[in-house]
C-alpha cells in the first residue's frame, strides 16, 4: 500500500511541477522581456505587478471557441496538442532534483536515452498539427519543424553521449553521482552545444523559424484556437523547464554546489534551472531570428563538429588522465 501511495505522491508532485513551473517561466518571460525592452509588462492581473496574467490568459483561452477548420483532418488535428505536451510531462518524471532516490520522479537506468527519446516524440505533435490543419503555412511550419528536429537531434545526442562517457553511465542519477566540479570546464563545449541545440529543438528564438510569424504566420499552430492553442504554448514552456533542468543535470552538476549539497541540493538544482531559463528568455530578447538555411548550416557545420570534438576530448581525457 505504501508503494502505491509513494508512486501516487511522486506522480502528483511531478504533475504539480509540470503545471506550475512553465507558468512561472512564462510569467518571468513576460516581465523580463518587458524590462529588457524598456517596458513594464503586465501590471493589472492579480493586482501586484500582474502576477496572475497567465492565469487570466488561461481563463481567456478556456472561454474561446475551439475551432477545427472544415478541411482539416479532424482527429489528428485535435490529438496533436496532447502529443506535443505529454512527452515533456514524462521527461519531467526522470529529472532528479536532489541527491538520493527520494528526489526524482522515477529512477531510470537509461535516463539520458529516455529523456532525449521522449523529447523527440513531442515534435510529432507539431508535425501532426502542421499536416492536419489543411493550411499551407501550417504545412510549411511542420516541414521546418521536422527539418529542425533532424538537424538538432544529432548534436544533442552526441553531447549527451559525451557526458555519459565521462560518467560511465547513462543514468541521470548516476551521472550526478559521478559529477566533479572540473567537469564543468571539461564539458563546457558540450554544454553550449546541448543548450543551443535544445533551444532549436524547442523552436525558441532565435531558432523559431517553424513559427516565424512574419513568414508563415504561426507555423503549425496557425489554425489552433482556445485551449488547444494554450496546450501548445504550455508545451513550449514545459519544454524550457525540461531543457534547463536537463542541462543542469547533465552539465552543471545538478544538486552539487559549493556548499549545502546534503540538505539543500534541490535548491541548487532549481537555482541553476532558473538561471538557465532566464538565459533562454535573454537570448530570445537579444537576437533576431535566423534564416532557415542559416539554421541548417549552423547545425551541420558548427554544432555537429563541435559535438564530435567534445566527444573526442572526453574520450582522450577519460583514457589518458583517468
Amino acid at each position: 500500500m505504501t508503494d502505491v501511495l509513494d508512486v501516487a505522491l511522486r506522480l502528483l508532485v511531478v504533475f504539480v511541477v509540470f503545471l506550475t513551473f512553465p507558468l512561472l517561466v512564462g510569467q518571468t518571460e513576460h516581465k523580463v522581456m518587458a524590462h529588457m525592452q524598456g517596458r513594464l509588462g503586465p501590471m493589472y492581473a492579480g493586482g501586484f505587478h500582474g502576477w496572475a496574467q497567465l492565469i487570466a490568459d488561461g481563463v481567456k483561452f478556456a472561454q474561446k471557441e475551439d475551432v477545427v477548420p472544415a478541411g482539416a483532418d479532424r482527429r489528428i488535428f485535435q490529438l496533436a496538442p496532447a502529443v506535443a505536451l505529454l512527452p515533456y510531462l514524462l521527461v519531467l518524471l526522470a529529472i532528479p532534483i536532489g541527491p538520493g532516490e527520494g528526489a526524482v520522479g522515477q529512477v531510470l537506468d537509461a535516463g539520458v536515452f529516455f529523456v532525449l527519446a521522449v523529447m523527440g516524440v513531442g515534435v510529432l505533435g507539431s508535425l501532426m498539427a502542421g499536416w492536419a490543419s489543411a493550411n499551407k503555412f501550417s504545412l510549411l511550419g511542420g516541414l521546418r519543424t521536422a527539418a529542425q528536429l533532424l538537424a538538432y537531434e544529432l548534436p544533442m545526442l552526441l553531447t549527451a553521449a559525451s557526458v555519459a562517457m565521462a560518467a560511465g553511465t547513462v543514468s541521470l542519477v548516476g551521472i550526478l553521482d559521478a559529477f566533479e566540479w572540473w567537469w564543468l570546464p571539461w564539458q563546457i563545449t558540450g554544454a553550449l552545444v546541448f543548450f543551443v541545440a535544445g533551444l532549436a529543438e524547442l523552436q525558441r528564438p532565435p531558432f523559431d523559424m517553424p513559427v516565424a510569424d512574419s513568414e508563415i504566420i504561426f507555423g503549425a499552430y496557425t489554425e489552433y484556437t482556445g485551449l488547444r492553442f494554450a496546450l501548445f504554448l504550455l508545451a513550449e514552456y514545459a519544454g524550457i523547464v525540461v531543457l534547463c533542468g536537463l542541462t543542469t543535470v547533465l552539465f552543471l552538476g545538478g544538486w552539487h554546489g559549493p556548499w549545502g549539497a546534503d540538505g539543500l541540493g534541490w535548491v541548487w538544482t532549481l537555482l541553476k534551472t532558473a538561471v538557465l531559463a532566464f538565459v533562454v528568455i535573454w537570448l530570445r530578447v537579444s537576437y533576431p531570428r535566423l534564416r532557415e538555411d542559416q539554421l541548417q548550416k549552423f547545425a551541420w557545420t558548427l554544432l555537429v563538429p563541435l559535438a564530435l570534438a567534445q566527444i573526442a576530448l572526453t574520450g582522450v581525457v577519460k583514457v589518458v588522465f583517468l
Binding site: V32, A34, H35, M36, Q37, G38, R39, L40, M43, W282, L283, V285, S286, Y287
Partner: protein, 215 residues
C-alpha cells in the same frame, strides 16, 4: 570588424541586460497622468469674455468645424445725448471635434485671444455626435489652460509690456516735470489696466491642469 568572434553576440546580450536594469519608460497612463510638454495640443478652450464674434476663426477653419451664432444688441449711449452703440452678443460657440484636425489656425487668427490650447485630452465620447462641444464645455476647458511658458532669457520684451512701460516712462517724466498735477497718475493707472488682456494666464482659476475634465 569584430576583433573577437562572438563579441557582437556578447554586445547584444549586454544591451538587453543593461536595459533591464534601467527604469522602464512605460507611462502608467490611467493611473498616473502623463507629463505633457508645454503647448500640448489637447483641446481648444474658449475665453468668451474676449470673444467679439468677429467670425475670423470660423472663416479660417479649414474643416468648418466651428459654429458661431450671435445677435446684435444696442447699448445705451455712454454719455447722455450720445449715439447708441451696438454690440455683438455670442449665442452659441461650438467646435465639432470629430472634424477638428487640431491645426490651431483658429487660435492663431483670433485677434482678441479668446481661443487657447488646453492640454486636456480625455474627452472621448461613445457617439460621434457628442463630439460637438458647446461653449460651456469649451469654457470649462479654459480653466485647464496653463500659463504660457516663460520667454527665453535673451528674448525680446513682449510688445504690450514694452508699450506699457514706454507709456509709464513718459508719464513718470511728465510727473517729474509737473509734480503738482494729479491727472497724470490717473492716466497712468488707466494705461496699466489696458496692458492686462495681453496675459492669457490671467483668467486661470486655481486648480491643476487636466483635473476638471475628468471630475
Amino acid at each position: 570588424m569584430a576583433p573577437i568572434p562572438g563579441s557582437g553576440l556578447a554586445k547584444g546580450l549586454a544591451v538587453t541586460l543593461r536595459t533591464m536594469t534601467r527604469k522602464s519608460v512605460t507611462a502608467q497612463y490611467p493611473d498616473t497622468q502623463p507629463e505633457l510638454p508645454p503647448r500640448s495640443r489637447g483641446v481648444i478652450g474658449l475665453f468668451e469674455e474676449n470673444c467679439t464674434v468677429c467670425m475670423l476663426c470660423a472663416r479660417e477653419c479649414p474643416d468648418w468645424c466651428i459654429y458661431i451664432d450671435s445677435h446684435k444688441e444696442t447699448v445705451p449711449p455712454a454719455a447722455p445725448g450720445g449715439r447708441e452703440r451696438s454690440r455683438n452678443v455670442l449665442d452659441r460657440f461650438a467646435i465639432d471635434f470629430s472634424l477638428c484636425m487640431y491645426c490651431g489656425i483658429c487660435i492663431e487668427v483670433c485677434p482678441f485671444d479668446a481661443l487657447f490650447w488646453s492640454p486636456e485630452f480625455e474627452y472621448a465620447e461613445t457617439d460621434i455626435r457628442d463630439l460637438t462641444h458647446e461653449r460651456d464645455k469649451l469654457r470649462e476647458w479654459m480653466w485647464t489652460v496653463p500659463a504660457p511658458p516663460a520667454l527665453d532669457a535673451g528674448a525680446e520684451e513682449p510688445k504690450e509690456v514694452a508699450a506699457a512701460r514706454k507709456t509709464a516712462d513718459k508719464l513718470a517724466a511728465a510727473q517729474a516735470a509737473e509734480p503738482e498735477r494729479t491727472a497724470g497718475t490717473e492716466q497712468a493707472a488707466g494705461t496699466q489696466r489696458a496692458g492686462e488682456p495681453g496675459q492669457p494666464g490671467t483668467p486661470r482659476q486655481p486648480g491643476t491642469p487636466g483635473q476638471e475634465g475628468r471630475a
